[in-house]
Subunit: 346 residues, 2 copies
DNA sequence: CTGAAAGCGCTTACAG
DNA sequence: CTGAAAGCGCTTACAG
C-alpha cells in the first residue's frame, strides 16, 4: 500500500541501477553514456533509453574524482572592502556574464565567488577539486587581496587575472593604450580642441595609467599637452569624476571635452555637467571606458570605449583552463557610440 | 639534480600524505581537519601544522561523494532568447550578488548558469552532485523555460524560483502588492494627483500584475480610477515604457505622475520625458520598481521600490538548501528615495 | 564488443 | 583517543 517514496531512501539512481535494468555491466553503461565507439549502437541505445527512463544522470563528484576534471571554471570577483553589501562594480558582472556564456559553450560550469575581506580570501578551487581553472577579476584598489592572489599564482598554473595591478603575472587586459588613443582621436575628429583626462593615476602600472598613456600619446601627436586633475578625493569613482571635472574647469576654462578612464568616473563628470546645465555633446564632449550598460540610461547616453567582452572571456578561459596561454594578453577595444559626443562631420 | 617538479606527476597532496608525515592514520587526519572533538588537541595541532606545511586541502569531490553534500548552491539565470550575447537584466545580477554573499556566509559556494535556449535548459544540479539546491531567477517572458523548470519541480524538492509566473510552485517574490501601494501612496503624499501605471500586464499572475493590483487598490482607496496604457509594443522594457508614457499623455493630458512596474520601464518613461523637456520631479513624478543601481546614473536619479535583497537571498537559500521552507514566500520592499519625486511637504 | 576489478580521496561506522 | 576498513559512484586499464 505504501508506494510513496519512503523518507528513509531518497534513492539516488546510479549506473549500477541502469546496468541491471538494461542487462549489461556497469562499465558498459559508463561507456555508453560517454559515447564510446567501443559500444554497439544497439547496446548504446538500450542503455540510453533505460537511463532516460530512470532519470539517471552522471554524478559529477564521482566522475571528477576519477578523471581529475570537474568541468568547471571558478571566477572570483574582488570587491573593495567598502563595497560589501553594495553591488560593487557592475562592469565585473557584465564580464562575468560573458565568461558564463563562453564557459557554457565549452561545456563548463561557472563557480562564482565574491570576495572582499582580506581574511576570507580563497583561490585554491583547483586544489580543492572544485574547478579546473580560476579567473580573478576585480578592483585594483583592493591591493591586499591582489597580493594574496599574486602569491598564489606562484604555485598555481591555472590562475589568471583580469585587471591585476601587477606586470609580473598572468593576466588578460583591455588594450588600454589603444583605447586611450581611440577615445582621444575620436574627440579630436569630432571637433573638440581641448581634451582633458579624468582618472586617478594610482599606484603602479594600473589600467588607468595605461589609458592615460594612450591619451597622452595621441594628444601629443596632435600637438597639444595633456591635461589632468591634480588630485582626487577618496570615495567612489563617481565622486572622483565629479570633483575632477570641477577642478579641471576651474583651472582650464577652455576645456571642451573629457576622456574619463572609466564609465563610473564619466557618470560623475556628467553629474557636474548637469549641475552646470552645460549641453552635451554641443558644449562638451565626453567619452568613458568600459562599455557599461548603465551608460545607456544616463542623459545623454554615454559614448564609451568597450573591451571586446567575448574575446576577453575566451582569453581568460583559455588561460585558466588550458594553463598554457601566453603569459599575458590584451584584448581589443571598440568605440560604442551613444550620444555624449557630436556626430562625425559629414 | 632534477629537483624541479617532474612533468609526469602534478602530485596531488592527499590526506594520506599528511598522515604519513604526521605519523598518524589517515582517518585521524580527516577527523582533525573536520575539527572532531574525538581528537586530542595535541594531535590536531600536529596534523594541522603538517597539512599547512604540505599545502593540503580537502578534495571536495571525494568529500562530497562520501557525505552527499557538496556545499554549493546553483543559481540559474533565465534570459530571454533575444538577450543572448547582451547582458540581460542587470537586476538579476544584483540579486545574484546578494545570493553569493548570503551563500558565502553559510559556507556555500555558488554555481551560476546563464540559460536562454529552450533546448539547452538544465536544472538537475542536485542530481548531478553539483549542488545541494537550486535557485532559478529570471525573465517571466521566457515561458518555455519556465515550463521546463516547473515540471522539474515535481521531482526535485530543492528547487525554488524567483519571479516565476506560476502560482503552483515553490517561489520567493517581492511583496509586489505592498510595493504597488507604497509607490502610489508616496506619489499621492507628495502632491501628485493623477497617477498612471506603466507596465504590460502579461499572461497570468505575473509580478507586474501584482504591482498593478497594489496600485489599483491604493488609487481606488484615494477615490480615483486606475489609468493604464492600452497596449505595449514588443521589444525591450525601455521601449515599452517610452511608448506607454507617450500614449498615456496623449489620452490623459492631466497625468502628473507615473508608477512604472520596473526600473527598465521607468528608464523608457524618463527618455520620453527628456524628449518633452518636461521637468522631473516638478512637472511629473516617477517611481520605478527593482532598486537597480543603474537608477543612480539617470537624470534625475530614479526613485524606486526595492525588494530587500538580503532577505530575498536568505529566503531563496533556505528554500533551496533546506528544501522545507513554506511553499512560497514574499519578501519586504522599501522605498529608495532618489530624485524623481518631489520632497515630502515640510 | 563486453565484463570484472581497481582505484580516485575522502568520511564514518566499527573495534580496541 | 586512534586505527583498519568499507564504501560513496564513477572511469578505465586489463582480459577475454
Amino acid at each position: 500500500m505504501n508506494s510513496s517514496p519512503s523518507p528513509t531512501k531518497p534513492a539516488r539512481v546510479t549506473s549500477f541501477d541502469v546496468a541491471e535494468r538494461a542487462g549489461v555491466n556497469q562499465s558498459t553503461v559508463s561507456r555508453a553514456l560517454a559515447g564510446s565507439p567501443q559500444v554497439t549502437a544497439a547496446t548504446r541505445d538500450r542503455v540510453l533509453a533505460v537511463a532516460k527512463e530512470l532519470g539517471y544522470t552522471i554524478d559529477q563528484r564521482a566522475s571528477g574524482l576519477r578523471t581529475g576534471r570537474i568541468d568547471t571554471v571558478a571566477v572570483v570577483i574582488l570587491q573593495r572592502p567598502e563595497d560589501k553589501q553594495s553591488t560593487g562594480n557592475p562592469f565585473y558582472f557584465e564580464l562575468l556574464g560573458s565568461i558564463c556564456e563562453a564557459a557554457s559553450e565549452r561545456g563548463l560550469e561557472t563557480l562564482v565567488s565574491l570576495q572582499s575581506e582580506t581574511g576570507a580570501l580563497s583561490g585554491d578551487y583547483v586544489k580543492r577539486g572544485q574547478a579546473d581553472g580560476t579567473i580573478v577579476i576585480g578592483s585594483a584598489r583592493n591591493s591586499d587581496a591582489w597580493q594574496y592572489f599574486r602569491e598564489l599564482q606562484q604555485s598555481e598554473e591555472r590562475l589568471v587575472f583580469w585587471g591585476s595591478p601587477f606586470e609580473d603575472a598572468r593576466w588578460v587586459r583591455s588594450d588600454n593604450i589603444a583605447g586611450g588613443k581611440l577615445a582621444t582621436r575620436t574627440l579630436h575628429q569630432r571637433g573638440y580642441r581641448k581634451i582633458a583626462f579624468v582618472g586617478p593615476l594610482e599606484a603602479g602600472p594600473g589600467q588607468f595609467a595605461e589609458r592615460f598613456a594612450g591619451y597622452r600619446e595621441e594628444i601629443e601627436r596632435l600637438g597639444h599637452n595633456p591635461i589632468q586633475a591634480s588630485s582626487y578625493p577618496d570615495g567612489d569613482r563617481s565622486a572622483q569624476g565629479y570633483h575632477a571635472a570641477r577642478e579641471l574647469l576651474q583651472q582650464h576654462g577652455d576645456i571642451d571635452a573629457f576622456f574619463a578612464a572609466s564609465d563610473r568616473l564619466a557618470f560623475g563628470v556628467l553629474e557636474y555637467m548637469q549641475e552646470l546645465e552645460a549641453r552635451i555633446p554641443d558644449r562638451f564632449g565626453l567619452i568613458g571606458f568600459d562599455g557599461m550598460s548603465a551608460g545607456t540610461v544616463c542623459n545623454p547616453p554615454l559614448t564609451t570605449v568597450a573591451p571586446e567582452l567575448p574575446e576577453a572571456a575566451e582569453a581568460l578561459l583559455t588561460a585558466a583552463i588550458d594553463g598554457q596561454a601566453p603569459a599575458s594578453q590584451r584584448v581589443g577595444v571598440k568605440l560604442v557610440e551613444r550620444a555624449s559626443v557630436r556626430a562625425a562631420p559629414a
